[in-house]
């Protein structure tokens, strides 16, 4: 077997194993949440009989292990069950929210990843001169301010005072792509500011590391311009750590944007999860946990595989 295929399949298997472990953790986590599911559904006026009926109906009297496997079994076949609180099909209602979250993450990535890499290259080109210092200072400042604060500040100045963009980012199906993009302008800006510094700094560090190599010196001696040296010779060899940090940030854009979603009232997964945790709607919480875990593991796996593929020693084995 080709070593790359072997490595990739190993990674895939490991990813699945990780997901399985995550599912067990999620299940255990939701079991030890304080408060009884049946009691929280029925509320204060629950009678003992109604509680007993509901517990039987929900299968809460079964041992935890068999409940775990039956849940896992149906989740694997795509059946996530129905929400306890409003009886809606979880896969349908979550699919919509997940779509929104991915939409926001996608556009934030489209803006932030090229920008971060470009700024990183620029910083290397002007290393230790004012553009480098300015870029570092600005991005480090923006990552140091809590995202909700950036959100509120932008909302106040750009949304309320200047009126350039809507202050709440509510999108729905009847809007055109242009309207949707206008609606998410502010959250995309906030997310970009939050993830920019990390990716930019990593790009800068990785390329600077490569710049110490002998072949860079050769390239310089060949008479290439410094930007060409960076983009043609240094960047391809620094791609592995850069992809790693980009993927980590993409994962953040999907699973970590709860705060930004709440601030801008964006109808994504974050708010959906929070609502259901508050109501002890365990099937939904479990499903959300599983989806978040899968996204996280998937993106990290992609990062691993890309860095493997980027390594010529692995691509061209002797």
């Amino acid at each position: 077997m080709h070593p790359i295929l072997k490595l990739v399949s190993q990674r895939l298997a490991l990813g699945l194993l990780l997901l399985l472990a995550a599912s067990a953790l999620i299940f255990v986590g939701t079991q030890i949440l304080p408060g009884d599911v049946a009691a929280s559904i029925l509320g204060q006026s629950a009678t003992p009989e109604a509680l007993a009926n509901l517990r039987a109906e929900l299968g809460l009297n079964e041992p935890a292990l068999s409940r775990y496997f039956s849940w896992l079994g149906s989740a694997v076949t795509g059946d996530l069950g129905t929400a306890l609180t409003n009886g809606q099909d979880i896969a349908t209602s979550m699919g919509k929210r997940l779509g929104n979250t991915l939409f926001l993450a996608f556009w934030a990535a489209v803006v932030s990843v090229p920008l971060a890499i470009f700024l990183g290259l620029l910083a290397v080109r002007y290393k230790d001169r004012w553009p480098d210092k300015l870029i570092s200072a600005v991005t480090l400042t923006s990552i140091s301010i809590p995202e909700f604060l950036i959100g509120y500040v932008l909302m106040y100045f750009i949304g309320v005072k200047l009126g350039w963009a809507p202050s709440v980012a509510m999108i729905n199906d009847s809007m055109s792509l242009g309207e949707k993009l206008a609606a998410i302008a502010l959250p995309v800006t906030v997310l970009t500011l939050v993830v920019l510094a990390h990716m930019m700094r990593m790009t800068r560090a990785a390329i600077l590391n490569v710049m110490q190599s002998a072949y860079i010196e050769t390239a310089e001696l060949k008479g290439l311009s410094s930007f060409q040296v960076i983009s043609r010779h240094a960047f391809p060899n620094a791609i592995a750590p850069i992809v790693n940090v980009v993927m980590l940030n993409l994962a953040y854009l999907v699973v970590g944007v709860v705060v930004v979603e709440v601030v801008f009232v964006y109808p994504g997964m974050g708010q959906y999860l929070v609502d259901h945790v508050a109501k002890r709607d365990v099937p939904v919480v479990q499903a959300c946990g599983l989806v978040f875990a899968a996204v996280y593991i998937l993106l990290n796996m992609v990062a691993d595989i890309v860095s493997i593929l980027a390594n010529p020693r692995l691509r061209h084995p002797k």
Binding site: P34, G35, A39, S40, L42, G43, Q44, S45, A50, A83, T85, N86, G87, Q88, S93, K96, R97, Y152, M155, Y156, G159, V160, G163, P166, S167, V168, M170, N172, V262, V263, F264, V265, P267, Q271, Y272, D275, H276, V277, A278, K279, D281
Partner: protein, 527 residues
Amino acid sequence: MQDQLDYLAKRASAGKLSRRDFMGKASALGVSAAAASTMFATAAQAMTPKKGGDLKIGSTGGESTNSLDPATYASQVPYHNGRQFGDTLVEVSPTGEIEPRLATSVESTPDAKTWMFKLRQGVEFHNGKTMTGDDVLKTMERHSNEDSKSGALGVMRNIESMKVEGDTFSVTLKDANADLPYLMSDYHLIIQPNGGMDNPAEGVGTGPYKMEVDEPGVRHMYTKHANYWGDDGHFDSVEILAINDATARTAALQSGQVHLINRLEPKIAGLLSRAPGVQVQSTPGRGHYVFIMHTNTAPFDSKELRLALKYAINREEMVEKILRGYGSVGNDMPINAAYPLFDGSIEQRMYDVDKAKEHYAKSGHDGSPIILRTADGAFPGAVDAAQLFQQSAQAAGIPLEIKREPNDGYWSEVWNKQPFCASYWGGRPVQDQMYSTAYLSSADWNDTKFNNPEFDAKLLAAKAELDGEKRKALYSEMGQLVREEGGLICPMFNDFIDGVSDKLVGWEVDPNGELMNGQVTRKLSFA
């Protein structure tokens, strides 16, 4: 008098008051006939509502777990949803009278045990069917049967039997209740086709707006129902956006993305009232913030200790610092002037260090810290209020220890379980309902474990009393019993604070609920 005149003028302009009635009522207020006539003409002309436009409301209290089933309504967005697509049999007017809706008139037998609602004819549901007596009966059955999870179950428990004859729906009660029409105005009791037995969450009713989009926790969109029976409801469409974050809600109003918002935070309200293009409407309501003690649990089983704590709280300071003036002081009973039949002559309890010390000494409490549980979610500013309480009690030598609880699970683990905690009440349309819900010894939500046979007897007597004066006297005695003996420390009644765009006209003060008792989409219009 000016308030009353303004109110009459608004009623006249909304078409709710005929010229003749207006003249009569205005002259009763001492206005000359000529002046009254001019006023009527101005009011009617100036405020003929303009039709059309798309109204957007930003509301807190919307979760992705919400359903359109009226039985499940427990927060603001579902409440406003019901107001759009649904109608109740009767509604409570801003001045506290019963107004006809799907019932055109209400009558009772002299013993207040059987009530007859004459149903409006030719009312069409959004699915094209005509409303019948059977739909009404089925609705009430769904909310009152044994396994109902309806929020209105409490008010339906007293019903013995219901029946429909011709166009009259009649209700027979186990115990007489002079306030039954008020109970039937409960916002959960929306008349649905076949009572909602088939599909309770389909969002079909007889209201002015027809449901188009239902995305729980995100938005709900309605368009004007062409065959609506009433003459109110002036907008082409209404959209309710769930904006739970107070800052985002305020920003949305200021940037013109929405026209109305509810639950303005008191500390923001003062600033917002100076902003251009928006108005802050503060409405005294019946909601109140409370600290509740279980009267059956030591040390709160001592009346002296309860009185000591009641004298040890500084109500004026709380209204000023927690409500920033958007509210009024409480008097350790759940009733204020916003209720019909309120007795304003009951003495106001004040912060009194000496009396607090005296009662505390008499209680013989051992001086160990008294644990007061609170959480941010108990009411806005509950943690700060508990700290103010701790300081004012400290001055009287009463040691309070604040235990801060997580918001999550507060209503299931702390409220109604722990002997001393912070909480809030939304108020009810009438005194009877408030007392029956939370102070009758057998009530589920008797969160002070108040058990006073004399009080219970008076409550039952007042229910059957159709004579207003006698009922008022009974309610006054009951209020004083709760104030003296009860486990309720009520420092303040909070106002409803709503934000309204200048583009809207027709606002009126309605103490029954936020956003004009949810009637904004019916009564307001674009200027």
